[in-house]
Amino acid sequence: MSTTTETTESRARGKAPAGEKLADWADGRLGIYSLAKANLRKIFPDHWSFMLGEICLYSFIIIILTGVYLTLFFHPSMNEVEYHGSYVPLQGQLMSEAFNSTMHISFDVRGGLLIRQIHHWAALIFLAGMFVHMMRVFFTGAFRKPREVNWLFGFLLFVLGMFTGFTGYSLPDDLLSGTGVRFMEGAILSVPIVGTYLSFFLFGGEFPGGDFVARFYSIHVLLLPGIMLGLVVAHLILVFVHKHTQYAGPGKNNNNVVGMPLFPVYTAKAGGFFFLVFGVIAAIAAIASINPIWSMGPYRPDQVSTGAQPDWYMGFSEGLIRVMPGWEINFWGHTLVLGVFIPLVIFPLVLVAIAVYPFIEAWVTGDRREHHILDRPRNAPTRTAFGVAWITWYMVLLVGGGNDLWATHFHLSINSITWFVRVAFFVAPVLAFIVTKRICLGLQRRDKDKVLHGRESGIIKRLPHGEFIEVHEPLSQDALHTLTAHEQYKPAEIGPTVDDNGVERKVKGSEKLRAKLSEAYFGEESQIAKPTVEEYKEITSGHGHH
């Protein structure tokens, strides 16, 4: 035993190239060979939509890199100083050191403005990327077992990303972001019983005080990114453990994964994609200005500019607060500020609605199996309709958040827009649900037609007796398989309510609810039965065309 080890070692020392020796050294201490054995040639399937998560990962890395650079120059302090930098219009103006140092970064540090703009653009793209990535995962059912936990990790990253973004753009202490912080303070004040105390603790006294920039700073650069980094690593580890999902197709099934190996193809593609994302963001930062704090000026609680908007990912909360009627209830010397508190409560509920969906669906289907083949959205009409309804809800709130911009750009009455959003908040998701479900069923019917009757060839044939018909070409077996590979659930039934001895058992309410939901998901109204082999044979064995 020991002799063999010695011989391999001596051989390694003798002839192996330097890289191999280094790898041997590392393996002896870190066990990297076992890790590489499982992962070096790990197979990843290819689809453009699988890049969306990569965009998020890379913009996150870009944010960290540029953020570290910005900390070298930024002073998280609210001490008032007079501006003496190179931007003439603000010279002599009083401002916080935070604003002053951001001006310094933007005008006097060479490349400082570029890094600031890359940082901010990357943050917008990070959040947008997560939103779209989340929708990809949602509509294809990639959140099903075994990936529910990873769905939650991703959801948490999205929510934490929102707050990291908010605390980040508040740091320069400019007029626009200060207004946003004031909004947040007003919202905290609305919390019953503890709101005033929370606000005083967060701001170290009355708003704005002299503390919040320093406190937001440690939240923005340390607390939240630290948690997010952990979540990102966990998210990626789970992607490796679960192996990536894939679409149905010839040769692909629930027990395999078809694609290219991590090394070298995905090392080059994914590694290269990092540089593509970084390059594009750098170019955007070169030509498109973002958050020009010098044109907004330092924060003063008694000043404001029109058209004040948060970054896009906070827009839906802005919509909630703008369209809510100003309800206030006064009783026993207390005020219940429903007009602000209700939006504050709905704000997380909008997000939680989509986060818990996988667990609701799993409960309705009662399916405990692992799913690695992605659904086409049309083949899960209820899920797809729910997702579109949720997006509609989110978009309606975004419209509400920009109601002033809609009004000025399209010459509409702000009052009408606000009323439209109030109604659409309840109505639009329902309409979107119904319409989406119809469209999905229509697409299912078309797939069924294609399978049974073939593809429209565009060739018109005249029969001897004068009838015109279009020639349909049968599909290849690849296409037939792909279009019929999805599973269709049957609605769950409550089962016999009377046992063998004729004794009636009590049916629980949850059981009834589940049966009802299951009927709504998988009943005749909610899916088109996919073509069977018998149907196919009957039609194809028949004569002529249909």
Binding site: I43, F107, R110, G111, L114, Q117, T179, F183, E185, G186, A187, L189, S190, G195, T196, Y197, F201, F203, G204, E206, F207, K243, P250, N253, N255, V257, V258, P264, V265, A268, G272, F275, L276, F278, G279, A283, A285, A286, I287, S289, R300, P301, D302, Q303, S305, T306, I321, R322, G326, E328, G333, T335, V337, V340, E370, V451, D478, T484, A485, V533
Partner: protein, 351 residues
């Protein structure tokens, strides 16, 4: 490149699998036909095409090197305060533009080169990996359960309840130390939100000119912002004080004032209202002369200044507080007391 250019011997052999795919299985026409045959790329067949790909990749990597040198040159050479005109963006900072574009090209070319390399020269033969269930096989599960039970048994935690209970108690209590430490994050609110700097006799100072206001300075149809006398920008507490004390002053024909108390608290039709919105605290700054409506630009709450500043639209929950004003002996506008109700957004203790 047309197929004629490819040397005959390099063409892929006819795929015999091809025939099998077209014919439907008798038993199940929908059965999985298996992975489709690999289709060769032109680079797999024609070495000249592969050489061309190699040159493209190398060119992209070279372009990246040049762009990095350009980045350094721009950093050294372009003055940081020079503006240039770039169509169609307009006047922009030359240094930011040149640094950003060179960095963008330097990064993008590396990515484009790597991806082109992967797509055209690395093997594109699809491979298959088997999946294994995520959950452990039953014997592993049984082993873990046994280990757990054995460990729990050896720890005697099930038998020695006193240890378990006191440990849970200690672990529950110890985080309280951390919670208590948060107490000094800020002072208790007390009645701070109920009071502002205003008191009887303080003159109203024009925010723009920093001069005390006379009634004749306030014209009908104008909107004037005011602060209390003695509050200066350099004061340590300026931001916190102005966040509550900022005033909005307008003059309305006394006949047009609908609210009786408003008229009483005004001076010859000059009324002073808190500038801080009662919704979430934005400063209100849009005034419509004809209707005497003011609009908060943040969330569009609209108040009627001729009718006690009641809310006529938007999310605000109550009227803007009014400051009672008069004129002192020298003829300047002065406050006749503090606001009678808290300014700014509502809160639980407001009542």
């Amino acid at each position: 490149m047309s197929s004629q250019d490819i040397p005959e011997e390099n063409l892929p052999a006819e795929q015999d699998a091809h025939g099998a795919v077209g014919v439907a299985d008798d038993k199940d026409p929908f059965a999985d036909p298996g992975l489709p045959p690999h289709e060769h790329r032109v680079q797999d067949i024609d070495e000249r095409a592969a050489k061309r790909s190699e040159r493209v990749v190398a060119m992209l990597f070279t372009l990246s090197m040049l762009a990095t040198i350009g980045f350094i040159a721009a950093y050294v050479g372009v003055p940081h305060d020079k503006a240039i005109y770039v169509f169609p963006i307009g006047h922009i900072n030359a240094l930011n533009f040149s640094l950003g574009l060179t960095l963008g090209v330097a990064l993008f070319s590396i990515g484009a080169g790597a991806v082109h390399w992967a797509r055209t020269l690395m093997s594109d033969v699809e491979m298959v990996d088997e999946r294994h269930p995520i959950e452990a096989p039953p014997e592993v599960r049984a082993k873990v359960m046994d280990d757990w039970k054995q460990g729990a048994k050896e720890s005697v935690i099930g038998r020695r309840k006193l240890i378990r209970n006191t440990m849970l108690g200690a672990l529950t209590l110890v985080p309280l130390a951390g919670v208590v430490l948060l107490r000094d994050l800020g002072p208790l609110p007390g009645t701070k939100l109920r009071h502002t700097m205003w008191r009887k006799g303080l003159q109203l100072v024009n925010m723009n000119t920093n001069e005390p206001l006379r009634p004749e300075d306030v014209a009908v149809g104008s909107l004037t912002f005011a602060k209390p006398e003695g509050l200066e920008e350099h004061d340590e507490e300026f931001q916190t004080e102005i966040a509550k004390a900022a005033l909005m002053i307008v003059r309305i024909q006394p006949d047009n004032i609908k609210d009786k108390r408003e008229l009483e608290w005004s001076h010859e039709g000059i009324v002073a209202y808190s500038k801080i919105c009662t919704h979430v605290g934005c400063p209100i700054s849009l005034y419509e002369q004809q209707t005497h409506h003011v609009l908060c630009p943040c969330h569009q709450s609209t108040f009627d200044l001729s009718d006690g500043a009641r809310v006529i639209f938007g999310p605000a929950g109550h009227a803007l507080p009014q400051l009672r004003i008069g004129v002192n002996e020298e003829g300047y506008l002065e406050a006749l007391g503090d606001f009678e109700e808290p300014v700014g957004p509502a809160f639980w203790e407001r009542g």
